[in-house]
Symmetry: C2
Subunit: 89 residues, 2 copies
C-alpha cells in the first residue's frame, strides 16, 4: 500500500539534508519536538496539516513544491513499469 506519510516524510527529510540542517535545528524553528519531526520524516507519524505547514515554513520550502514532489514519487510507484516501457521504445 502506498502511504502518503511515507512520501511526505522522505521529501521533508531530503530537503532538510540538502540544506545541511539538523533535526534539532528544524524542529526548533518549526516549534515541534525533535522526536515528532523524526517520526514524521520516517513516515511513522501523520503530520497534521498545521504542523506540515510549520515544518515546510521552517525549511523555507513551499507546500506546493513538497506535494508536487510527493505526487511524482507516488505516481512512479503506482506505475513502476511505465519508465521501462519508455526506455524500450
Amino acid at each position: 500500500m502506498i502511504l502518503l506519510r511515507t512520501h511526505i516524510g522522505a521529501t521533508l527529510r531530503a530537503s532538510r539534508i540538502a540544506q545541511g540542517r539538523t533535526l534539532r535545528d528544524v524542529a526548533k524553528s518549526a516549534r515541534v519536538s525533535l522526536g515528532y519531526l523524526s517520526e514524521v520524516e520516517r513516515g511513522q507519524k501523520e503530520a497534521s496539516s498545521e504542523l506540515l505547514h510549520a515544518i515546510t515554513a521552517a525549511l523555507d520550502i513551499s507546500l506546493g513544491e513538497v506535494l508536487s514532489s510527493v505526487a511524482h514519487q507516488v505516481m512512479s510507484q503506482e506505475a513502476p513499469t511505465l519508465s521501462v516501457v519508455d526506455d524500450a521504445a
Copy 2:
C-alpha cells in the same frame, strides 16, 4: 494558512460528485463511516494515509492523481499573483 486537508478533501469531493456517487456509497465501499468521509471532504478531519488509500480505491482514482491535483491547487494559492502577471504580459 494553506492546509493540506482542505485541498485533499475538496479534491476527493469533486471526484465523488463527478462520478455522481453519494457519500453513503463511497463510505461503504471504502469501509469508513459516512460522517468521517463527510468531515474529510470538508477539510474538517485529517485522513490517515491508510484511510486516504481506502477512499481513493473506493473512488477508483489513483493517489498520485489526487496529489497532483492538490499540488496544483496549493501552488496556485501560494502564488496567486502569478497568473495576473501572466495575463498582463
